[in-house]
């Protein structure tokens, strides 16, 4: 129940454990099962990547962890345990408890930096607010801390830029400012929800290296969400692959990219453009299933090139593949892992 200070981060100890998280949203079309049984663990000083196509539940997972469920949430269940805060699920926390956790322990940065800052207040004003939100600081101390934060995230002439309004910043600079604001109270877990999606490739790379650098300096943990597998493999220690509200594969980054066990992960890797490769880019045929009428059996079956009849009736579960906590939601993962040629009916689309 105690809130620790900058406790010595013992790498490897679990920091956040999510168990069997469900989040269903109400829409006009019906109930969307946005998150359907997600379990994951973030360890101290670790970067966990969550990857998947748009609409597979990545953002809803993050927002649920932060207690910021969309207003249309109909039902959410499961456990989110933030270990420094005790062994009780924080999903049932009260408003005041959440306010103490958010910002100072858990922080989040968003997809579109252009809209994540208040348009009518200066950058400095908003940064100072974040700096003083969870700590008692004098005006001068707060000012000093704000300037050093902006310097740390690489904003030139910070004192002058603090007087600027968000519209006077470029997208990359805004994301830097947002990172500074998120880190103002030194959180121990940063959730980055597609932090580079709306930025161009050069800036994307700069922001990623900045996040990586900050993570190494502070020893915080991070959940990096992206639909871009290239981004994820570049910085993450472990990867969780999500599909249609479920985790379909998880494991250490090296294992996932060298020995993907789930056909979906394989297809994602195949879709990455290779240097020196000519011809059409490969894509995954079809589109993700609607999360309103979820088909029984494997959710990836309609798009899977290895699909057999049994897949459609298989009671899906995450299966341990044996090594280094690598798991995949495919009952034929052992066969798939071996060789592509062994498969019948593979299409060459």
């Amino acid at each position: 129940m105690t809130t620790p200070g900058p406790a010595p981060a013992a790498p490897g100890a679990p920091l956040l454990t999510v168990t069997d998280l469900h989040s269903y949203l109400a829409t006009d079309q019906g109930v969307v099962r946005a998150v359907d049984g997600v379990s994951l663990t973030v360890h101290e000083a670790e970067i966990l990547g969550i990857v998947g196509e748009s609409g597979c539940g990545k953002t809803v997972t993050c927002r649920t962890i932060m207690g910021l469920m969309p207003a249309s949430t109909l039902h959410s269940s499961g456990e989110v345990i933030y270990h420094p805060h005790g062994e009780r699920s924080i999903l049932s926390a009260k408003q005041a408890e959440w306010e103490a956790l958010r910002g100072s322990q858990l922080a989040m940065i968003f997809q579109d930096p252009m809209t994540a800052l208040n348009p009518v207040r200066t950058i400095g004003d908003q940064l100072l607010e974040a700096v003083t939100a969870h700590a008692k600081l004098s005006r001068a101390e707060a000012q000093e801390k704000a300037v050093s934060l902006l310097e740390r995230v690489g904003i030139p002439a910070p004192v002058r830029r603090m007087r600027d309004y968000p519209f006077q910043f470029s997208g990359g600079m805004l994301q830097r400012a947002l990172i500074a604001i998120a880190l103002a109270s030194s959180p121990r877990l940063l959730l980055a929800d597609e932090p580079t999606t709306s930025l161009d490739v050069i800036i994307q790379d700069q922001i990623l290296s900045l996040l990586l650098e900050l993570q190494q300096d502070t020893g915080m943990s991070m959940i990096l969400v992206s639909h871009d597998l290239a981004v994820i493999t570049e910085v993450c220690d472990r990867i969780v692959v999500m599909y249609a509200g479920q985790i379909v594969e998880q494991g250490v980054t090296a294992d996932i990219i060298t020995e993907p066990k789930h056909p979906y992960t394989q297809a994602l890797l195949d879709a990455l453009p290779q240097a020196g490769q000519h011809g059409e880019l490969r894509s995954i045929r079809g589109s993700p299933p609607s999360l309103i009428d979820v088909p029984s059996g494997c959710r990836f079956a309609p798009r899977c090139r290895y699909v057999v009849d049994e897949c459609r009736s298989w009671d899906t579960e995450l299966l341990d593949t044996g090594e280094r906590e690598h798991a995949a939601r495919c009952w034929r993962h052992q066969e798939i892992g071996r060789s592509e040629e062994a498969w019948q009916g593979s299409d060459s689309a």
Binding site: E99, T115, L117, N118, V120, A130, A133, A182
Partner: protein
């Protein structure tokens, strides 16, 4: 206009430049609206504040020897009424009451209604249902009838007129503010503020209010005009300021009996209402354009 296409780059540039210049002109014109409104209101405020310097007559001093003098009579710039009271000084002193209503009644309902709308919109749920149900209840009544009913209960006086307006006219602000808040709270910056662990009050007042206040501020200018006219109407009906108090509506009411013989008794206070009303309208218009331009 011919339908030829701009072909050369220089021609296109010229067109763009002309367009930009036009836009700048219209910005100046918008500012002009605001400035004219502010000057008119400023003149009115100065005039009623320094009324003793602008007239030597008391607004209630009767002069039975010179009743119903027409305007421009020497010594009586705007003439005298049926009791020989100087119309100019009655307009000046009466303006104190009407401007006090414009500011006093409007500012209280502006703040109160904004606060209630903000809470209803942000908190939502039962709080919103109850507050907005109350607003709908007020809207269901004809506004003036409701005000008259409240004054009838409390007794006619200027203070009770304030009370009646306070009770009834916050509802428009609450409704506008709630609508704005419901939209604003879905914005990403509100989510981001909540993700930083900011409390509800901080999110409401420091993040949502600055983004939504312009609509209610603009509306308050329209409402101020409405309140002046309401005060005049109530004065006319004998429910507001009581004689011999020189409130503009009461003056119009007194003057209507002499409409054929001494038209100025009703017309001059009417023009005063129009002057102040137009000044508020111009300010509201100018502010609306200016704040909307700022959003771009």
């Amino acid at each position: 206009m011919s339908t030829t296409w701009a072909t050369s780059p220089s021609e296109l540039l010229l067109k763009a430049a002309t367009k930009a210049a036009g836009r700048r002109r219209s910005v100046t014109r918008r500012r002009l609206t605001l400035i004219v409104g502010l000057v008119m209101l400023g003149v009115a405020i100065l005039a009623v504040t320094f009324a003793p310097l602008l007239t030597s007559y008391s607004p209630t001093a009767i002069d039975p020897l010179h009743p119903l003098a027409p305007p421009l009579t020497p010594g009586h710039f705007l003439g005298t009424d049926q009791y020989g009271r100087d119309v100019w000084s009655r307009i000046l002193y009466g303006g104190r009451i009407d401007l006090a209503i414009a500011f006093g009644a409007t500012s209280v309902t502006l703040v109160g209604g904004t606060f209630i709308g903000l809470i209803a919109g942000y908190i939502g749920g039962k709080v919103e249902s109850v507050l907005m149900g109350l607003v709908d209840l007020f809207f269901a009544f004809p506004f003036v009838v409701l005000v008259i009913a409240i004054i009838a209960m409390l007794g006619p006086s200027i203070f009770n007129m304030f009370v009646a307006i306070w009770i009834t006219s916050w509802v428009s602000y609450a409704r506008i503010m709630r609508a704005q808040t419901v939209v604003a709270k879905k914005q990403q910056y509100v989510l981001a503020a909540r993700a930083l662990g900011y409390g509800r009050l901080r999110v409401m007042f420091r993040h949502i209010l600055p983004n939504t206040a312009s609509a209610v501020i603009i509306f308050s200018m329209v409402d101020a005009v409405g309140n002046i006219i309401l005060a005049a109407s109530l004065g006319f009906l004998g429910l507001g300021a009581q004689p011999p108090s020189p409130e503009w509506g009461a003056m119009i009411s007194d003057g209507q009996a002499y409409m054929l013989s001494a038209w100025w008794l009703a017309a001059i206070p009417g023009l005063a209402v129009v002057f102040v009303g137009v000044s508020f309208s111009l300010i509201g218009d100018g502010l609306a354009d200016l704040l909307r331009a700022g959003e771009r």
